[in-house]
Symmetry: C2
């Protein structure tokens, strides 16, 4: 297929590199000229400098832009792309944001955390597709099948819930690692020592219901340790972490009461 991209950030980078060279990447347009140029060179695509330069001789236009600007970007697509299927890649944006403006619209959402330093193991990435028109679903699913076999037809509501769950399972989890790293740092203790524990915790969640493998002082209802820990955080001036400690411990206590 012939694919063009709006956006040259992390999602565009990984997605375009996974589609190329099986598919032809025709054009790339993004606000940051330098990034656009680098990505276009990698993919033998044309870097364009204006929406007006977008060619309509493509199968799918992928908007791999941040959630905040999707509504603005779809308004900027010129009229001559009227018949082109345009999809966004956001987990948390309703299809309506596109379909209210552009009839042939859809969503291609890869559920993965993208950072430029890490390769994506695409065959394990679930991809969620949704289209306004049923005849577009076949085309979009076909494109998705060149990324992964794990293709799901999810409604916007389901996708939004899944994305919300991912914020808890991924973003908040990483912040828990971040807080742990900061605690070890203040006490000259080595964060690396927690690696086996971090791995084991993730592995256990993957072969159990997380509730059933909960451990720790809050789960055991050990008030002595809970008090000692909040006192330690207070003494170290880590007021923010103390608030997190108290809120999560309270909820874990309640859940396992």
């Amino acid at each position: 297929m012939k694919i063009s991209f709006i956006g040259a950030g992390r999602v565009a980078y990984h997605l375009a590199n996974a589609l190329y060279p099986q598919h032809q990447i025709v054009q790339i347009y993004a606000r940051t000229q330098a990034k656009t140029q680098i990505l276009a060179t990698m993919l033998q695509a044309e870097a364009i400098e204006s929406y007006q330069d977008l060619s309509s001789d493509i199968d799918i236009l992928i908007l791999a832009v941040s959630d905040q600007v999707i509504a603005e970007v779809i308004q900027s697509i010129p009229q001559h792309l009227h018949d082109v299927l345009i999809v966004h890649t956001s987990g948390s944006t309703h299809l309506e944001v596109l379909s209210n403006v552009h009839a042939n619209s859809g969503v291609l959402y890869p559920l993965q955390t993208f950072s430029l330093q890490h390769e994506i193991d695409w065959k394990n990435v679930p991809v969620f597709v949704e289209t306004q028109h049923s005849n577009d679903l076949k085309k979009l699913s076909e494109l998705a099948s060149s990324l992964t076999e794990k293709i799901y037809h999810y409604s916007s509501e389901q996708r939004l819930s899944l994305h919300l769950a991912a914020v808890f399972a991924c973003n908040f989890t990483n912040y828990c690692y971040d807080m742990a790293q900061q605690i070890t740092q203040t006490q000259q203790v080595d964060f690396d020592l927690l690696y086996p524990l971090i791995q084991a915790t993730a592995e256990k969640a993957l072969c159990n219901i997380p509730k059933n493998v909960q451990t720790g002082p809050a789960m055991r209802g050990d008030q002595n340790i809970l008090h000692m820990h909040t006192a330690m955080l207070e003494k170290q001036g880590q007021e923010d972490f103390k608030q997190v400690y108290q809120l999560l411990s309270e909820q874990i206590l309640k859940r396992h009461a």
Copy 2:
């Protein structure tokens, strides 16, 4: 060495099974007779029914009991064990809790999350040793070396900080998975779909400073998504999760401002 155990729970189970048969497990005493009997049979040890029956002809007595009862248990050890090295296995209990009562005391703390369903990969488990008397440190380190090569001589203060960090990196992380699982459940979305994301998030934390790989709406400062998510949680009646969402998002915003 000749080892006896007080306790027959998860830590005692995994630790005793890792030490046996290289070391002789002499006796096991625990409140739950049935559990004690099963463990004793596995390890060809004697299940005893009273502290008074503890033999003093051992090298180390391991108190693998819950943090709350360590202080009580050390008070119950009969006088004829005066010269035996007695260690606890807790990350969050100061050595003083033992040494104030029993001179030959120490700590053997394996930093791992123990559940009966999962085998422990001991060679990757860091073990922290501490003793009241320096001549006991050699003996305890020798025992620890039959579990792992990763032996650390940590003070009680360092060990307590590490354990506090582990609560964030492990217990709170698991609760994040738990909340995610509950969110998917209410929306008839499949929690399994989050597995690759959970794995990728843990892997990234292991080869980076967690702060540098933070992603998500709070990190991007995306107020639209933050509002949408809190509204979704409110609508679904998940008031507790909304509180967690708001507190963690606020802190992530501040950390990446």
